[in-house]
């Protein structure tokens, strides 16, 4: 069982969250020329890193906010959690 610290609600069980995938993926900016490749990278292509992975989680059965979680995909260690609009760096 993962324990995820929601930046709004504090430490909660994994059961309250749903998963939203890689948080480093950026939607191409509108109102400019966008190549098929850019769209592919946004919609389909994923690095699927082994090790540190920045990802989105939705605190569905809590505050219903989307948050960012930095987690190790092979040990499940969680290094830090952030609000969705906080900077990754």
């Amino acid at each position: 069982m993962l324990h995820i610290k929601c930046p709004h609600c504090g430490m909660r069980s994994q059961n309250e969250f749903s998963y939203g995938g890689d948080a480093s993926v950026k939607r191409p900016k509108l109102n400019q020329e966008i190549s098929d490749q850019d769209w592919d990278n946004f919609v389909y292509n994923r690095k699927s890193l082994r090790g540190k992975h920045l990802e989105l989680w939705h605190h569905l059965s809590g505050c219903r906010q989307w948050i960012k979680v930095e987690r190790d995909t092979s040990t499940h260690e969680i290094f830090r959690t952030m609000k969705a609009n906080e900077d990754n760096s």
């Binding site: 998963y19 919609v43 389909y44 994923r46 690095k47 699927s48 890193l49 082994r50 990802e55």
Partner: protein
């Protein structure tokens, strides 16, 4: 190679079975090969076998970081079926069914293929309609499909919950009588033994760590046991695909996720079909040893852990008990997990790549065991002839670019999110 037969079995019994040949050798890697297959799972081993058998290419190495059969081929729940609606999936899988039927003879190895039939349960009128449509599509492609009503399902699996007060009543089901199961380890070992006997080097405990390219073409592979020169590489590493793709600066429409399975304590024969729940992700069959073999959902978040988490298992077994209440009386014997190469439309990729000499085999999701023979056969063809066969033409990498997705379930991207 020593033939496995009743006569050899009796003969070797007199010497307490200590004089059997090893099933495959333990060679040290050569400096150069014509083809290197990365990954000694079912698909890698089958590919090497068909390269040798169908294309006469025997200067081949299979490079496996652990031991052959230690990956998903040894961790799956062995369901074999071809109950697909889309032509590309249906024809590919049905070609595979034919190879399954002949496999034990072909490999001189008993893979215990057991075509016991699979039933997908339906829990609403709408679902019955969808199944009727899929069944019709299957029959148009020459695949056996039978639509069962509630009473017919009850005859076959009376232990399912047919009482009145259930959340998901059983309306009927779609059956593929020729589907079934096989012994997964035997499949890996059978292919390995035959490939070895035709000259393929099976190199275990050897991890691929990088690639050598020259002018944009494959020129070699780097491993934990030294560099090997080779012009053609077949990448067949299932859940580790992204890790090796990164070394080639490729990002693929694939994510690695964890799938668990479990078996109960062995009980007397009670279930002689494979059955899937239609209102969630749960499926069950009974092994020859009597264990109930069960599985269902992915853990739900990217994972390379090769071991699962309790909430998903609990959720899956809740569905199982809703479908077959007697399961709640059984003790759990074992649970385990494997890392799955989940493709974005739920269908696999068997194709060439933009790098000359690099061939890609991945995206098998939950269903790659049944594909083992057809995947090996078509991948060997693709590598040997440097072009795809018509059976795997639909499994192209650029379908994600052109929009020709093979979205069997009509779920869009990330088919695993429910």
């Amino acid at each position: 190679m020593q033939k496995y037969s009743i006569f050899n079995l009796i003969k070797n019994a007199f010497s307490n079975h200590i004089n059997w040949d090893l099933a495959w050798k333990d060679p040290t890697p050569k400096k150069e090969y014509d083809v290197v297959i990365i990954g000694g799972g079912g698909h890698g081993l089958a590919t090497a076998y068909y390269l040798a058998k169908e294309h006469n290419i025997t200067n081949v190495a299979i490079i496996e970081k652990g031991w052959i059969g230690g990956g998903n081929v040894g961790r799956n729940t062995t369901i074999i079926r071809s109950n697909y609606m889309h032509d590309d999936n249906a024809l590919f899988s049905e070609f595979g069914m034919d190879l399954w039927r002949k496999m034990s003879q072909d490999l001189n190895y008993n893979v215990m293929f057991s075509p016991r039939g699979i039933i997908n349960l339906a829990h609403s009128d709408a679902q019955m309609n969808v199944y009727a449509r899929r069944g019709n599509s299957m029959r148009l492609n020459g695949i056996d499909a039978v639509l069962l009503n509630r009473e017919q399902v009850k005859e076959v699996i009376p232990m399912a919950d047919f009482s009145d007060n259930v959340r998901f009543p059983i309306f009927g089901g779609l059956m593929q009588p020729s589907a079934g199961t096989a012994r997964h380890d035997a499949v890996a070992w059978g292919y390995a033994r035959q490939a070895d006997s035709m000259g393929v080097d099976i190199i275990q405990n050897c991890e691929v760590t990088g690639f050598d390219l020259e002018g944009g073409k494959i020129n070699g592979v780097r491993t934990s046991r030294g560099n090997i020169k080779v012009k053609k590489i077949g990448l067949c590493v299932a859940g580790s695909t992204n890790i090796l793709a990164e070394k080639l600066n490729m990002t693929l429409p694939v994510e690695t996720h964890l799938l668990q399975a479990c078996v109960s304590e062995p009980v007397k024969p009670v279930l002689d079909k494979v059955v899937t729940f239609g209102a969630g992700h749960f499926y069950i069959s009974q092994s020859d040893k009597g264990e109930m073999v069960m599985g269902g959902d992915l853990d739900g978040y990217n994972s390379y852990a090769q071991r699962g988490n309790l909430p998903t298992l609990q959720h899956v077994l809740t569905e199982g008990i809703a479908m077959m209440p007697f399961l709640s009386k059984l003790k759990m014997l074992r649970t385990w997990g494997g890392i799955m190469d989940m493709s974005m439309d739920g269908s696999p990729i068997i194709d060439k790549t933009h790098i000359e000499g690099l061939y890609l085999n991945c995206g098998w999701c939950y269903g790659g065991f049944k594909a083992t023979p057809a995947s090996g056969w078509t991948f060997a063809h693709t590598i040997a002839q440097d072009r795809v066969h018509k059976l795997n033409a639909g499994y192209s990498l650029n379908r994600f670019n052109t929009g020709h997705l093979l979205d069997e379930k009509g779920l869009g991207t990330k088919t695993w999110i429910s």
